[in-house]
Symmetry: C2
Subunit: 359 residues, 2 copies
């Protein structure tokens, strides 16, 4: 069965300000020493799983040039340009309808975020292959779960049954999807050993997801099919641009996964990181003896456990601890590690002050 991949790349990634901007969100940034961008890594990990001509990118119109610059080998028609963000359900419905039109309903679809990081790529590939096997075996929705390491309140969770009725090793039946919990609930989930983190990675056949879309999100389904009718034609972009706005903004988790049956999960143990904010940079790179991650022209004196991302200027860090410094041509962020969630307040302020050039 043909394996296609849909990379969801429409996110704004405000939490990596000042490196990420409206015109350059996180998925198009390099946050690792190897200088590859997040989306390049995401696509690179599919080597041996999906061919470049079978990789589809759904992103905002604004990022069309970034996609063609960073992923020049992806066919232009595979880049689906949203006129506006409508969360994951419309994005997935559109991609599924397009892929079904191109390859038929018996086509595997890997649905992947564009801005996560995977440490153990071989294990990741093995997990995807196993998910493909489950998806191929019937009208099944497969989601990749992540074994929780701590009671995170920023992710959705998946409750799983300990035994799968499929008889396949390492595959579990999903009992339910739950949204981001409060801290006490997250602690219960962790203690119960019956929950996984929802990584937002899904595997299914186009026919399976579209059937579920028709059932649970009929409006999204029909709009997606209407748009996909024009795929490969000259007016596709115009039709997409016109009709996509009418889609409701909804996540696939809420719109489909919380309602559908026959959902399976495969717990991934491949070193997943959602790279949620600047704190992640020291996790996904290596730190020195003093616990610092440093890039660019940086002098540190008596500085520990800090992340310093230099730009074109020298940064001299003297006596600081647990601080994140990010320099760019027009803005510098200096942020205490325990205040990374407040970077969005800087962005709010810039919006209020109409300082679009800095957003």
């Amino acid at each position: 069965m043909r394996i296609t991949a849909v990379i969801m790349a429409g996110g704004k990634g405000e939490r990596f300000w000042p490196r990420s901007r409206t015109h350059l969100p996180k998925q198009f940034l390099s946050l690792t020493a190897d200088r590859e961008t997040m989306i390049q890594k995401t696509v690179g990990r599919l080597k041996g799983i999906a061919e470049p001509e079978d990789i589809f990118i759904v992103t905002n119109k604004m990022y069309a040039d970034l996609v063609s610059e960073q992923l020049p080998f992806i066919p232009k028609e595979n880049v689906l340009l949203e006129p506006c963000g409508r969360n994951t359900a419309p994005c997935i419905a559109l991609a599924a309808a397009v892929i079904e039109k191109k390859y038929g309903e018996e086509t595997i679809m890997l649905v992947l975020p564009s801005d996560h990081l995977i440490r153990y790529e071989e294990m990741y590939a093995d997990t995807l292959r196993q998910a493909v096997a489950v998806a191929e075996s019937g009208q099944r929705l497969v989601t990749i779960g992540i074994t929780p390491a701590y009671p995170e309140t920023g992710y959705g969770y998946i409750q799983f049954g300990r035994d799968s009725d499929l008889g396949m090793h390492g595959v579990y039946k999903v009992k339910r999807f739950v949204e981001k919990p409060d801290i006490d609930t997250a602690k219960e989930y962790l203690a119960s050993r019956k929950y996984l983190w929802n990584s937002g990675m899904f595997v299914w056949k186009t026919g399976t997801i579209l059937e579920n879309m028709e059932k649970f999100m009929p409006e999204v389904y029909s709009t997606a099919c209407n748009i996909a009718e024009h795929f490969g034609q000259e007016d596709f972009e115009a039709v997409l641009s016109e009709k996509y706005e009418n889609m409701p903004s909804e996540s696939v988790d809420f719109g489909i996964m919380e309602k559908a049956d026959e959902i399976y999960t495969i717990p991934g143990s491949f070193g997943w990181d959602d790279v949620g904010n600047w704190l992640a940079v020291e996790r996904i790179n290596s730190t020195n003896d003093l616990g610092n991650y440093v890039e660019g022209d940086v002098i540190t004196i008596g500085t520990e456990h800090s992340t310093i991302c230099g730009g074109k200027r020298l940064i001299a860090a003297v006596g600081i601890e647990n601080i994140i410094v990010v320099d760019t041509d027009d803005a510098i962020l200096i942020c205490a590690k325990d205040h990374t969630q407040d970077v969005k307040k800087v962005i709010e302020n810039l919006k209020i002050c109409n300082r679009a050039a800095l957003l």
Copy 2:
């Protein structure tokens, strides 16, 4: 009696890196919100005391242009250009010899550092006038002392006798000058109430200081007189440039004040600040409700007791406390307040790495 002033402006001021540089030391920087530079303030404070044509600047050759830019009203011949730094004794000897040549030995000389700050300028002027009166009344060396506020180990101290034999109110006889003490000694000095800080401001007649120079530093004296012979002549700069290097490097405190008799001190209570490092900036400016001093384009979120001096870029400070941030075109300093003494280590590193452009 004519009152002249000698502003000593040869210092390097490395502690204000990255704003201060080899080609732009602290005395030529503005560190206050009014945008006046330290040396402009120093000269400005002499209004009503010394006329511009009677103000002399001793500085390094390198800073000749800075002096003429910042103090265009000072006659060019009053700017004495050292080919190299030789501490305060040769600098003062030269200025004294030049002024004596121009105006005779019965001329008052105020000797003032160029990079200190005075909060109460009227009281300062009154103190100087009183010092002038003492200096005029005989062959007396007068120094302005500062009532210590805490056991500072970075200043020299002046031990004074409680009663002056002059019978002038507020004037005390100096028992001895002492160099920078260790912390225990500084605490003893403070507790004894018999010591003042040595501010490095002196008042005397040219004849008085030159007499003492001849007695205690005959070599410095004769070189200074030899150079001053040429003052007002075409070859003055060349002679100064050639002979000044032969001077020994010595402070007036060690070379004269610790040895001479007839020294008096007037305790100043005019809000003196030596503006010794970046910590001073919040003292000499006003801080906001959160204890921050901020200049330039700065957004603060959850930031307290910090000093943030912006340059051309936006600085976003999130969740930081007790941090000093200084941005310039080619370097940014981020320094914990309790590590300001380590800024010099940055400079050492830059020297070792031959990064002259940043020094």
